[in-house]
């Protein structure tokens, strides 16, 4: 049997309308993508797929995604004015819609973001009730909800790396909720997506960043 809901989901969440999957979830996908990029984007190509491809304007998901890219929270009243605010902040954006990506979830968004000298591609699904799932980041398959604390670690595909990292996290008193490892090929770069029930300390984070075989560490605290 599925885990029972919180009463905060019965009387809540507080959100911007009209629909949790078209606004709240969309805002959260953009905010997760910002964190993968490491800053607020200067340029964005936003692709809406399948059901979203037809309905994104009517439901205001275009405003929601821009608001998320500006890092507004899901209950921010300024979401309504996201076009004007994106223009003010100099965010360049393009919308695309693709109607027949049959292998993708009905409510999928792809974000190609540029900023702080970096470029990322993030694919996220809005699964209802504001719940999201990031399913791809930079060509690596992923699987995290951004409702817990997420670590994305790029490391050489060496033996024992997963055990070592898990050990560091355990010593920081963090419990791992989910873990997902994906690599482009044997002995090539591997990417680990680790969801934890609580936040990791800055010291542990710095330690991970300084390991010789770790190339990059991205930390995404829970996104409300």
């Amino acid at each position: 049997m599925a885990e029972k809901s919180s009463i905060f989901d019965m009387i809540g969440p507080v959100m911007i309308g009209p629909s949790s999957s078209h606004t709240a979830g969309v805002v959260r996908i953009a905010r997760a993508a910002n964190r993968i990029l490491g800053c607020l984007p200067e340029e964005a190509i936003i692709t809406f797929y399948n059901s979203f491809a037809r309905t994104y304007e009517g439901h205001g998901s275009d405003k929601a995604i821009l608001a998320g890219l500006l890092d507004f929270k899901t209950d921010d009243k300024r979401i309504k004015d996201a076009f004007e605010l994106a223009h003010e902040k100099g965010l360049k954006y393009t919308f695309r819609s693709i109607g027949n990506a049959s292998t993708m979830h009905p409510n999928t968004i792809k974000l190609n973001l540029k900023g702080c000298g970096r470029e990322v591609e993030v694919i996220g699904q809005s699964r209802g009730g504001g719940v999201i799932r990031i399913v791809e980041a930079d060509g690596f398959s992923a699987d995290f909800s951004a409702s817990l604390h997420t670590l994305i670690i790029d490391a050489d595909d060496v033996k024992g790396s997963i055990a070592f990292i898990a050990d560091v996290i355990a010593h920081d008193d963090c419990n791992i909720a989910t873990m997902n490892v994906s690599r482009k090929g044997k002995n090539e770069m591997a990417r680990q997506f680790i969801e934890m029930d609580s936040g990791i300390s800055p010291v542990a984070l710095e330690y991970l960043r300084h390991l010789k075989w770790v190339k990059n560490v991205t930390y995404i605290p829970n996104i409300d």
Partner: protein, 302 residues
């Protein structure tokens, strides 16, 4: 161990045996199962009610027009109408439920209670209840906890989502939550609170989810108003001691059964009912994105 809100019978039994008020097991559930503090729970209920009050106010004061054009300041028109069909209080209830729901349709801030599509119902019901009966905020917050307990049970045994159980699952559940809260706040017995839930479900049963152009506007907004009215009529009947005959848990089971056997075209897909009328199809052409790319098959793998 806390009560798990699997059914109304055990909620009633628990309160009668321990002599607790109805909201107490809801508090304990959230504290024990979800690890929240009691303080945070009261704060969250207070914040939710403040957002509901704000939505009512916004819907009746600011410009409420949606991008589709289907929403055009309906709540304010009702408030300004020279004709009162029943009583000023009834009109107040209707305008408030409409207003809060219009805020939702126009990308304003609301509380999903239990869902965004039903987000006008509890604000209409509770703000009107508070004003008419001069209730303090604490009583309303207790009422919200009762509503949350009702929603937990419906979610467990039926559904709260239009895509799963039709409109009866969204506006029907919100109305049932509101009716229970009304009777609780006015001092009704546990039997009467649960009778109000049962009667409301009996009234809302079978309602399909058929949103025009898939938008949360028509008929969602007017159904928020009618659901608020049904909550009050059910609460009135229940608090008078009228027996709903079918026990509340069996009403919830019926809600689940009807939801399961409802055809997919009546579950938020915009394929049936009002969404499938000629006018709706016209509106759809204006609202839906038309320049959708279709990928050739070989590009369709990513």
């Amino acid at each position: 161990m806390s009560l798990l809100f699997n059914d109304f019978a055990s909620w009633q039994k628990h309160c009668e045996e321990t002599n607790q008020p109805l909201y107490q097991p809801v508090l304990e559930y959230e504290i024990e199962q979800k690890g929240r503090t009691e303080e945070l729970i009261w704060e969250t209920m207070a914040h939710a009610y403040a957002v509901m009050q704000d939505a009512v106010k916004t819907g009746l004061s600011e410009d409420m027009r949606s991008r589709s054009g289907m929403v055009n300041n309906g709540a304010k028109k009702v408030a300004a109408s020279p004709v009162t069909t029943l009583s000023p209080e009834f009109k107040m209830l209707i305008t408030r439920a409409l207003g809060a729901k219009e805020v939702n349709s126009c990308m304003g801030r609301v509380v999903a209670a239990p869902t965004a599509g039903a987000s006008g119902i509890l604000p209409g019901i509770l703000t009107t209840l508070q004003d008419l009966h001069k209730l303090d905020d604490r009583k309303i917050h207790e009422g919200l906890l009762i509503a949350a307990g009702i929603a937990l049970i419906i979610e467990t045994n039926a559904s709260l989502a239009g895509a799963v159980g039709g409109c009866q699952a969204e506006t029907g559940s919100a109305a049932a939550m509101g009716a229970g809260a009304i009777v609780y706040c006015l001092g009704g017995s546990i039997d009467q609170v649960f009778a109000a839930v049962a009667i409301t479900i009996q009234c809302m049963l079978g309602l399909v989810c058929d949103p025009v152009a898939g938008l949360v506007e028509v008929p969602c907004i007017v159904r928020n108003a009618s659901a608020a009215a049904i909550a009050y009529s059910s609460a009135q009947i229940a608090i008078a001691g009228v027996n709903p005959v079918i026990p509340v848990d069996q009403c919830v089971a019926a809600l689940g059964e009807v939801g399961q056997s409802m055809e997919t075209k009546y579950k938020e897909t915009a394929l049936g009912g009002l969404a499938n009328t000629a006018k709706a199809r016209e509106i759809e052409k204006l609202v839906l994105v038309q320049d959708v790319e279709i990928l050739p098959d070989e590009d369709n793998a990513d």
